[in-house]
Symmetry: C2
Subunit: 407 residues, 2 copies
């Protein structure tokens, strides 16, 4: 069994790095704070007897040896980077639950057949640079390391230079490590487990995601003189589009999620009718066909609004993630772990994207959810119960141990 | 008569300082470019025989002596600062038309009874720091020089330090200079003169203005997990407010202007439901009672939208300018000037705020408008005809000369 207090103390210590006044955390990917968080994890993993490897995009692999070290590893992990106003648990829990599994195995002096890898994936959140899930998608062969190194961050730096600056530009070629399986423990980031008093969510799938960058172009004008009827006001046009997207979501079903999270106005001066507005659309649904329909409806809505307001519009698809189904055997092993430990569980869908999505196409993969207070995440108020955190880590330990002793 | 080509060449030379690729100009108040523009004006004014004085908030007074130098001056001017994507004429024309009046009087070897002051007012546009019309409102006693010096710019600097850095922190106490009258020549920044083929607008009044800072507060959340119905999405709420403000304007009358020119999203990350949005409202109308009603209607609309979306809202009134009526004698002298020169003219209302608003409460004040292409302003495409520019300067010369020879 894992040590509840040790896991909690580790989470709190990690949360102090980039800690925010409201109890949250700002540890943007490849920032100095992310570097410090990585250093702390590496120090803890080394203390727990792990060897450390880092790949060319900064993914960290902390390996606990097995009896057969040439065998593919049973792996687990998540990410240490956060949103700008993020919490202490989103991602971090998955990494430190993996570390706690290693520590618990050490306490029990268990030697597994297969080695165990605890993995820190680079830039899951994409708050400092795109695309999200950079590390795990590169591991899955979506991007080359060279492509990732050339990405420009919001601070105007290059990812390759940032990796070097914080000491995590490694040698290992992403995707070359042999994995037997991958587990990711995570807070639910939704309200279901808490509302139904279930401790463990056996994740069946991750919903699909399409991410768009929209540019609305009108014409700058003088806010005091230009009659309303002749304006080509990109701000008012964008506002109508955002309202229409919200109404599209509400008219579809309970599963759809549409978010306009980022928006920039040009020239953004109080007395000037804005000539241009850029914004993003994060569109999600568990069903691939519905997601496609939603994209087409959104395109029609926005194009019609732009035309009626004499604005031009570009709507570029920046990322597409098809819905991902997790491995049935892994789901079964997680459910068995919950049952063996006497923990109430249910099958659940993931509303958020996770690094496990990328690994699911490579090896048997699954996720374990635990409740978080009010379903709140990407928010300083994000919180989880120490007992639930330990329960999830125990299920992880159970499921990984079962797999790690099977050659 | 003024020299059309000399006036045009001066406008083009000034427009090169901070010139933009699209033909416009970015010379933000008290930036290095603004300093260079001021230096050019001062050099030209000295070449034209003027003495230069600078007051404590950077207003520049270029004085052409009269026969009776202790008499109050007949003054004219405007501003040299621009919007970020501004044009070459807004403000600049009023300053250089005044300089051209001085040059034309020199050419004709005319000595006026009263001295003439050509004035450059500091920070009309407020694109780098608030409030707009800083220089002229300080001259009118609205602010102290100490207050202005302590203002923080968007670059994090203080106005007092910026004035010193560009060499325009003067000694003269704002408002102590005796003016007989003030004239401001300006492009219309609206479509009326061009549409009606009138060369000269005799400005009767400036419409009233109220400027608001709105803060909408919801709660950050995860864009992939949080169901639409439980979100407290400040971005969608702000979008509904902006649409409602636009509809309020269109439902009122042709004279109302409502502009949301500036907006910031927090935390502004694509996959996070925004917890906070700040935006500005620029609300204008020529009638004081209607302006008051519009403010009350806007407050009700925004408060209702916030309540229905479970958002909180603050709507702070940051600036209020009552409608300003210009002096009847000055209007008559401008109309006489147009008539004497055979130029078609009409009475016209100013949609924009101008430095002349602040001087109108002190001494007889008026404005001369000339057409600009398509009514476009606060835009790189802003443009005016050399013949119209010269016509306006000739009317200015006529009206100022009439006044400057009357003790």
């Amino acid at each position: 069994m894992v040590d509840r207090d040790r896991l909690w103390d580790s989470l709190m210590a990690m949360g102090d790095i980039g800690g925010l006044p409201g109890g949250g955390c700002c540890r943007l990917a490849l920032s100095a704070a992310d570097g410090a968080g990585r250093d702390l994890f590496v120090a803890w993993a080394r203390q727990a007897g792990c060897s450390i490897a880092v790949d060319q995009v900064g993914n960290i692999y902390a390996r606990r040896p097995g009896r057969v070290n040439e065998a593919a590893s049973v792996s687990t992990g998540s990410h240490l980077d956060t949103q700008p106003h993020g919490g202490k648990f989103d991602g971090i829990y998955g990494v430190l639950a993996g570390l706690e599994v290693v520590r618990a195995l050490n306490d029990a002096k268990i030697v597994t057949e297969r080695p165990i890898d605890v993995i820190v994936w680079t830039n899951e959140e994409a708050a400092r640079f795109l695309p999200p899930l950079t590390g795990s998608s590169t591991f899955a062969g979506v991007h080359s390391a060279e492509f990732v190194h050339a990405i420009e961050t919001v601070d105007g730096t290059r990812v390759g230079d940032d990796l070097r600056a914080i000491g995590y530009l490694g040698d290992e070629v992403p995707g070359t490590r042999a994995l037997d399986s991958f587990f990711e423990a995570h807070i639910e980031q939704g309200p279901i487990l808490e509302a139904e008093s279930k401790t463990i969510g056996v994740v069946t799938q991750v919903q699909g995601l399409r991410f768009f960058a929209v540019s609305v172009l009108g014409e700058d004008g003088h806010g005091g003189t230009l009659p309303m009827t002749v304006r080509r006001d990109a701000m008012t046009g964008a506002a109508r589009m955002i309202v229409a997207l919200d109404e599209l979501a509400r008219a579809t079903d309970d599963a759809v999620r549409i978010t306009v999270g980022s928006l920039h106005v040009h020239p953004n001066s109080g007395s000037t009718v804005p000539g241009a507005v850029d914004f993003t659309i994060d569109l999600r649904h568990p069903d691939a066909a519905t997601l496609e329909q939603l994209e087409q409806k959104a395109r029609t809505l926005l194009t019609d609004i732009a035309a009626s307001a004499r604005l031009s519009i570009e709507m570029g698809l920046k990322m597409i993630k098809q819905p991902v189904l997790f491995d049935a055997d892994i789901q079964a092993s997680i459910a068995r772990g919950a049952e063996a430990l006497g923990l109430p569980s249910r099958a659940i869908l993931s509303g958020a994207g996770h690094d496990a999505m990328n690994i699911a196409g490579l090896v048997p993969t699954g996720m374990i959810f635990i409740p978080c207070a009010g379903g709140v995440s990407h928010n300083e108020k994000e919180s989880a119960d120490p007992a639930d955190l330990a329960a999830g880590a125990n299920v992880l330990l159970h499921a990984m141990l079962e797999r790690a002793n099977r050659l």
